[in-house]
Symmetry: D2
Subunit: 304 residues, 4 copies
């Protein structure tokens, strides 16, 4: 009986192996961090991207089927729908004892279904979305919010720590996605609300540059006001990092979760609606910070 | 050297004198900082408070009338209405060249009227509200947002720097109040919105303590989420520092200003309405962080 | 005349037969109207209710299995989930050519799934929710908003006209539910907003009774302001007709639909959130008009 | 001393005389109704308008100064600011016993000041704004919401009844304006919210014309949905009757009043903000129904 033994070696002290699906803006530096610590197979839909990653970061470009042999399989994709596609493909060959870690900003309901499907094959699941951007991944300081079982979390922690600085188990499967959705909708809310404040101040004749500086030194500051406004809004240099359409999607997930548990969150709901309006008026593929252009449109001013 | 000459020395290099009206939670440490640098007269409506301040910080308790002789007169009061009272009392004896600096979280429209009244007596006016709390005043790190003329601001800057760390001129008279109102409504908005997020997460079965930690390490963080929630909300130790009724008033000022210039700020307007609801259901005299109890009430959960 | 022939007669000119599942506040008078025009089988989960209906209105109490023989099967249930249960039970014995008409305030996504399942058995589906209350059903004046194919709608129209006064096809399957969700969230929005207006007027010292009368004579009037406020709110006689929990559910369906098509509807989203808050603070099983008590709570006044 | 006697005859049974300032869309038919019942002096800022009114309706074009001799002086102007101008002009020559009736959609705070100024001259004041449009004025069916003292109201009632169908005293001075502001913001809210519902339905593939018809037959109907959408929105014939800028102003008055009494009205506040956004994106001088274009813009659809 060699199979059970093989499975049991997965929790042994030998170096685990990782597989990483999705080499986007976030996945690329995250997979690079993993590759710096252990054998790491990488795969991307776009041909050539995995080979380039291997050449630059020492990972190994792999066929889809071979990924199933890794101890830890990471996905980092646009939505939960894409994750389903790869689970479909790999499920027949996944080995018991494997851990699937989804770093997508996904839906808690999808996570619960995915975890159940994988559990039937003896595969554990963690939802482990991240916050902090490519720079945070490169610095190994990402915030990682993890949903799943404590024992699985403990096994995965050394790998998550390669790119994460604050890595915490926040509850059962789906909880990581739930927290990530709240994180992102709050980020969007802070961005829109400081834009509202600045737009009204401009109409009152206030100088925006010093106003923002004192707001950021005061109790009204937020990550959004500190890291986005002077850098992107005032300069009109909206570098496309995280798409507005994806932020609107994340706000939608937060609102979907709120509805599922019959919670009441009027400010978050308003934000979700405004982000859809921003998407309709400004575009889906622009950087999320361009959402402020909705506020500018509604007020007839430009924030600079 | 006759009296008119004395007035002219006010812009000389001799040490200026300060007067401070309003020894509340903020005024007390601010006046203490001034008293450490220059002769400082203090006054408070409550008998004995000025004497105690003098004994502890080296200021000088003064009669109301004598305050008019100071070069710089500070007010730090609950609302612009109280400032009007003291302008009424002192205006007849104020000397030309004096600077009146109002650190109240006041109304821009009131500032413009007050500035005009004082200007008729040759007295300059600055609205210079502060953010950062008593600890910031003691550390000399307050954010001070100043409205007024550049020359007056330059004269007042050394005094403002005794308690301020980020002291900036943000526009003409009233601009300081305008920015302060935005700062405070954003602070309230961030507090209510993180409470909304956490309430919905609790109903989803998420552990709030690690969830807040990762939110604070992520892009959804704000001054409010970092400094208020674990310290006061999770512990249920709502120490009364800044009253909820005053925060609701400040949000109201922000909304009044928004209306005056026909701006559109749906998230700020929603916050102003929710803070009034919090005041009605939780109380006016409690600490402003108790506003989260409205969110708890609307969701049937307690955030801890 | 064998069974297949019987099935073909279903589109003949002989009197069709109806079955009705769900004898609640609405179902009871709707089934009574049908029974006045054609043979009508009735069924309800609660024992004895069907028999009482038969005795009073001339319908026929039936076993669940026998319902499958009717030409038109109506469901009028709390949510789409209950409809699924009865489709599960009857699907094996349903005959091709049957029309299933769901008058529940259901979910469009559920309707599309239900229609597909039934179509596989040759059964057509209409979502046909109603508005107008038990009195409207008794008077035959209900508004009926129908989703489905035009040919099916034409066949069902004579039956729908027994209880409906305005019966219209509004689009493909699911469209009826979509319109009903909008109808109900607007009704809730109008109720909450007139309550907001009246609460603020009371705090301004205005007499509410004449104020409501002129509002209802003016352009600010709505079905809610005309039919609910003086009758129930002012009298504090909140007779339990349509439960607040169900209205909150319907608002949730409207918001779910809005999210699905990435629409932006800030006022509707705010209403959905406020109705959940009303449910949390006032209760689920009270009449929906008690939602005004949330507005009263947030303003510290009673509307009378 | 005949003057006092003259004043006393003003409450006698002789036919009173009226003066009317402001012959706009509403003022024109209202003054015409008065002129049908009693001697009526008319005045308008635009030269020739009063003469035309006199020629068509039997009123008498008058110089400004002569208006002061009327028993009842009506104003029907864009805002309270214009009313102040005419009070300034006429106050020196107004006779005690005169009643000033302001039918403007004004501010309660302005009404209280105006009433106090006039009271010092022995002149009574009523705020008596109207709802129902020019057609309602011509039909004598306007809703008139009156603030002031009961005795003054009784004296004015026969005159108000010439154009009003529902004429009610709703409270002390200012109450009429308070109710009118609520009426108008509700009308705007109903218009925006049915547009939100329809925009989301269109994106769901629903046919809007029958959908609106059933909504109007259902519990989600409102004056706005019944009288504005099929007539103006669906036809894209936005005839300029009541300007969007004035509706936004009225919503602002409602919100100002709400803030003054520290009420919480999130839906009304959201409406005020959206109307300002509509004004910024669509224009001030267009008909108020064009506010739906904001909803169209935010959803990327046209409502027809």
């Amino acid at each position: 009986m060699t199979q059970p033994a093989t499975a049991s070696t997965k929790i042994s002290t030998t170096t685990p192996t990782a597989a990483f699906i999705g080499l986007g803006a976030m996945g690329t530096p995250m997979a690079a961090q993993l590759a710096g610590q252990m054998p790491t197979l990488v795969w991307n839909r776009t041909p050539g991207k995995a080979e380039a990653h291997a050449a630059e970061y020492g990972s190994a470009a792999s066929e889809m089927e071979a990924l199933a042999q890794a101890d830890f399989i990471f996905t980092c994709l646009p939505t939960s729908a894409e994750v389903d596609i790869y689970i479909d493909q790999l499920l027949p060959t996944l080995r018991p004892g494997t851990v699937w870690i989804d770093c997508t900003s996904g839906r808690p309901a999808a996570a619960r279904e995915q975890a159940a499907r994988l559990a039937a094959a003896g595969v554990a699941f963690l939802d482990a979305p991240v916050s902090g951007g490519p720079a945070g991944a490169r610095a190994g300081t990402l915030a990682v919010m993890v949903g799943g079982e404590a024992a699985t979390f403990e096994r995965a922690l050394p790998l998550l720590n390669t790119f994460g600085g604050t890595v915490l188990l926040v509850g059962p499967v789906g909880s990581g996605f739930a927290v990530k959705a709240v994180n992102n909708v709050l980020m969007g809310l802070h961005l829109l609300s400081v834009a509202e404040g600045l737009a009204s101040l401009k109409k009152q004749g206030v100088d925006l540059a010093p106003a923002l500086t004192v707001l950021n030194a005061g109790s009204g500051s937020s990550f959004s006001s500190q890291n986005k406004v002077s850098q992107q809004v005032f300069t009109r240099q909206f570098s496309p990092m995280f798409k507005l359409g994806l932020l609107a999607k994340d706000a939608g997930i937060a609102l979907e979760n709120i509805q599922e548990v019959q919670a009441s969150a009027p400010l978050i709901a308003a934000t979700a609606m405004l982000l859809r309006a921003a998407q309709a008026t400004v575009g889906s593929d622009v950087d999320h910070t361009e959402a402020v252009k909705l506020v500018e449109l509604l007020n007839g001013v430009e924030l600079n």
